[in-house]
Symmetry: C2
Subunit: 222 residues, 2 copies
């Protein structure tokens, strides 16, 4: 178990390992080797072992890894079995779509309240979550443990709201606004969902496949 600084790339691969392991466990697979797991995800066996060994020696020589055990370990590392208290800030379409469809609990997060300014949305339950008026947020956060803010407000309100939330002491922001947020406190965790970036990248790759933009025409063969 080497414990230097763990690279961002390694961290980003952890959820993929977890997903693969959950599927393996679902179909009853008991053990798996680093090379099998690698093949499943498109990584080399070396990389799998190196990644996992950042967090501990989960394997057994000559055997491989126990699926259930490794899955449990990775869930623990990712905090997937926690129930971190979170609030939804902005209960518009995106916010409510998350409440409808997204399994927060499976990621170790528990949404305890939502906030909005739209009187058509406030003062009601939505998917079991009470939607408060935004003006109640400050009091709510002071009276309840809130670790995470799920930020689903329009782009032009995002930075302002982020500053406000950081001031209130939330420890992490899951941001859905298409905006590069500037987080004043360095120990507040920011994680973005960037729809635009993703779709633009798709557009680029599409153009690149057509050979248009940057795929240089093959050199003329003579």
């Amino acid at each position: 178990m080497r414990n230097g600084r763990i690279s961002d790339n390694t961290i980003r691969r952890l959820p993929a390992y977890l997903r693969a392991l959950e599927e393996l466990q679902a179909v009853g697979t008991e053990r798996i080797t680093s090379s099998q797991l690698g093949r499943l995800l498109g990584y080399t066996a070396s990389q799998v072992r190196l990644d996992l060994n950042c967090f501990g020696g989960f394997g057994t020589q000559g055997y491989g890894y126990n699926v259930a055990e490794l899955r449990a370990s990775i869930r623990r590392i990712l905090g997937a079995d926690e129930a971190r208290p979170a609030i939804l800030v902005g209960a518009g379409r995106i916010g409510r779509a998350l409440l409808d469809n997204f399994d927060f609990a499976d990621c170790g997060v528990h949404v305890t309240a939502a906030f909005d300014t739209d009187l058509n949305l406030t003062d009601m339950y939505y998917q079991g979550v009470w939607i408060y008026d935004l003006s109640d947020m400050e009091r709510y956060v002071k009276e309840h443990p809130v670790e995470i803010a799920v930020l689903c407000v329009p782009e032009d309100a995002a930075q302002r709201m982020a500053n406000y939330l950081v001031g209130l002491g939330v420890r992490a922001i899951w941001n859905f606004a298409n905006d590069d947020l500037d987080i004043p406190k360095p120990d507040v965790v920011l994680e973005d969902i960037k729809f635009s970036d993703s779709l633009l990248e798709l557009g680029y790759r599409l153009a690149a496949k057509s050979g248009a933009v940057s795929a240089p025409r093959p050199a003329p063969v003579r």
Copy 2:
């Protein structure tokens, strides 16, 4: 203009450059240097110049880059000014939230139709987009130019639907299902929005900040 293979990292930074440039232009900035642009985004000046030079010499020595020009160039590279025809597959909450809130046009994409199996959703317009029954999709795709499928179906239907879409000849899939899709044709572009991965990563970083998981206890001082 060096034109080796352009790295994924470079491509992933393009939308960030674009976002910064749009903001600069919005506030009337005319020119910018690589080091200013870098400071804005947290990159080094070298990196900015190297990234941009993958696509062309957009700058002028002694001056820097013209904001409007560079913005236009990057939009072109990303295909943001196109209107690539796309269909929405699955018009549930997530799908409709996208139609409500997301600016497809600004990413060079035009959603021409949506498909679902839910009779409460089909045969109606939603945000100007007609929702067809899924059984009409095959005919629709054959009769209309469709480049991109925005995949918003439940996780357990995603792989099946992806195979079907690839068979119908779509050239790219923007996937919102939490599933590692296996795309049979190598030239079909796949781009994922991974909500779970993102929130799990947030959870990890939160735990890491608390010094719990992987921050090794400081060695005992004697």
